[in-house]
């Protein structure tokens, strides 16, 4: 029954026009970035590398597909949560707003299974969004700009990763990014359980992300103790896969924190959804 309902949920997501907004938005954004880089890429790269040109001599194709993919990921990973919440925030509250939740919850399937199948469909959708972005960034990026060593500028300085050492890093990075987006999806589904309209959970999800991000970036001692436990602090953990040496402990911590948030959000969702009176 769980699989049948997950299939149902995926049909619903696939049939909703709003589900394609994310795909269209990502396609347009990546297209714009790739186009801009194709036209003005060298100027952009020289701006980044300007401070190193006194001490380092760059050879080969710096502006390659790997760098494009990294830039795209860095730029878009901030916007993707909104696109994910647009669909996942609507999964429960959208049914309440349409009135179909009455039909759904009078069928011989437990509320927990209904929620979990919606959650599973939401995660599949999130994965697909990320996969599409990955395809555009890595595959199309490499096709347009070719392969080469990846040059990453981080807080510790410049990191050069050899071309043959990049694939697994992208894979790890995407998996961690998926975990971060899954946390956002779980948060929006949880908020969706508390609402009877579609907009509320989407706006609330973004508000929580913005609030936590501000708390996370404010360099005020009072937030020092909570900052490491905010899921937003770990949403950029994917970037750690492009550090040398690999900060395994930091990645592990991020994964644990994100999983903990997913567990908490999902538990609250299941508890509330099972207790909820359907009045819509």
């Amino acid at each position: 029954m769980f699989l049948k309902n997950t299939y149902n949920e995926f049909i619903k997501i696939a049939a909703k026009p709003r589900s394609y907004i994310s795909i269209a938005a990502i396609t347009v954004l990546v297209g714009i970035i790739l186009f801009a880089m194709k036209i003005d890429g060298p100027a952009y790269i020289s701006f980044i590398t300007a401070s190193f040109e006194q001490t380092l001599n760059f050879e080969g194709n710096i502006m390659n597909g790997n760098l494009m993919a990294f830039i795209i990921l860095q730029m878009l990973i901030v916007q993707i949560p909104l696109l994910v919440a647009l669909v996942t925030g609507d999964l429960i509250s959208g049914e309440a707003a349409m009135g179909t939740i009455r039909m759904l919850l009078t069928k011989p399937i437990s509320r927990t299974k209904i929620l979990l199948s919606k959650y599973a469909a939401g995660l599949i959708y999130t994965f697909f969004i990320l996969l599409w972005m990955g395809f555009l960034a890595v595959i199309v990026g490499r096709w347009l700009f070719g392969d080469g060593d990846l040059m990453v500028l981080n807080s510790d300085g410049l990191v050069i990763i050899q071309a043959n050492d990049i694939a697994w890093r992208f894979l790890g990075g995407f998996m961690t990014a998926f975990l971060a987006l899954a946390t956002v999806a779980t948060l929006s589904i949880m908020l969706s359980c508390f609402s009877d309209n579609s907009i509320g959970p989407i706006v609330s999800t973004m508000s929580v992300i913005i609030l936590f991000t501000i708390i996370g970036t404010l360099d005020v001692p009072v937030f020092d103790n909570i900052r490491p436990y905010l899921f937003t602090t770990h949403m950029a953990a994917w970037r750690s896969f492009f550090d040398n040496p690999l900060p395994i402990q930091a990645i592990k911590e991020s994964v644990v924190i994100l999983f903990a948030h997913i567990g908490i959000f999902l538990s609250i969702s299941i508890y509330h959804f099972n207790k909820k009176d359907i009045l819509s």
């Binding site: 149902n8 919850l105 009176d277």
Partner: protein
């Protein structure tokens, strides 16, 4: 002995200090077309929602097919098809896809053949591929009934099934409900705030008012056994009261009108008594006490 399918006793539902349902007792037997009658806000929909576990009852017990709805929800719901309040569907999907979605989780056969058969039964043949967004309320109601039948349930629950329909739509739905009983031998529970509606379809009924089940029983018995309230337009109301002194519950309404609560068979004798006393009777109209009672409730 009749087999009880629904047994609700002392059901109550509170929202904070507001008591939506205070004390509802219902027994529905197999094969019944059972009417839940009550004015708007009486607690009919809340009772149905509690019955289907859409909302949690504050107290009381609900047993469907012998199963407690709180502990054996899945078993109970597997034998029920229902429309609560109004039939809402995924507007961006076709009639066929909507049926498939609800049928799949109800464990129904969702083959195209079966879906088309159901749509044909409710008169929606040829509209299978049409999106529900283009359906009228009556068509949605029909689609809702098709949805309730997909998994071949023993019990169909319809909450105000004719609300918002045009006269022809009301007749169509009424006939569909009667088909469910006569052809498919289903037990049907329907709620309404219109007594004549229940009278035409149901064989048993309950009246709910202010969250309390006031009266329950067979529709024909409730309606026939009740005394009539007879209104008479006479030449002299005062003198009529004197002539009808042996009848209890005679009331003067005004100078030319009286009302009297009597059995139907007594009406000719009553008129005869008035005629012999020289009173002219210009008009006699009657209404059942239950109807009057219900009208009082609804007017309240």
């Amino acid at each position: 002995m009749e087999e009880s399918i629904i047994s609700i006793s002392h059901l109550a539902k509170n929202y904070g200090s507001f008591q939506a349902v205070r004390d509802v007792n219902i027994t529905v037997n197999k094969g019944d077309v059972y009417g839940i009658l009550g004015p708007n806000g009486a607690g009919k929909s809340t009772t149905i929602r509690c019955m289907l576990s859409l909302i949690n009852a504050s107290s009381g017990s609900i047993r469907l097919f012998g199963h407690d709805i709180k502990t054996h929800r899945k078993e109970a719901l597997s034998k029920i098809g229902c429309i609560v309040e109004k039939p809402d569907f995924y507007k961006y999907l076709s009639a066929e896809s909507n049926l498939a979605i609800f049928g799949r989780i109800a464990g129904a056969d969702v083959s195209k053949k079966n879906l088309h058969k159901m749509l044909s039964f409710v008169g929606l043949q040829g509209r299978e591929k049409d999106k529900v967004s283009g359906f009228s309320h009556g068509m949605k109601q029909r689609l809702g009934i098709a949805q309730t039948l997909l998994h071949n349930p023993d019990l169909i629950i319809l909450d105000e099934p004719t609300t918002g329909l045009d006269p022809q739509g009301i007749i169509d739905i009424r006939n569909l409900i009667l088909d469910l009983k006569n052809e498919f031998h289903k037990t049907v529970v329907l709620s309404s705030h219109i007594l004549s509606e229940i009278e035409l379809i149901a064989n048993r009924m309950v009246i709910i008012n202010k969250g309390i089940s006031v009266v329950e029983g067979r529709v024909n018995e409730l309606l026939q056994q009740e005394e009539l309230i007879v209104a008479m337009e006479v030449s002299d109301a005062e003198k009529s009261l004197q002539l009808l002194v042996n009848y209890p519950a005679v009331q003067k309404i005004d100078q030319f009108n009286i009302s009297i609560t009597i059995d139907k068979n007594e009406i000719p004798n009553c008129i005869d008594s008035l005629s012999k006393g020289g009173i002219l009777v210009y008009n006699v109209s009657s209404k059942r006490k239950l109807e009057d009672y219900f009208l009082k409730l609804t007017n309240a």
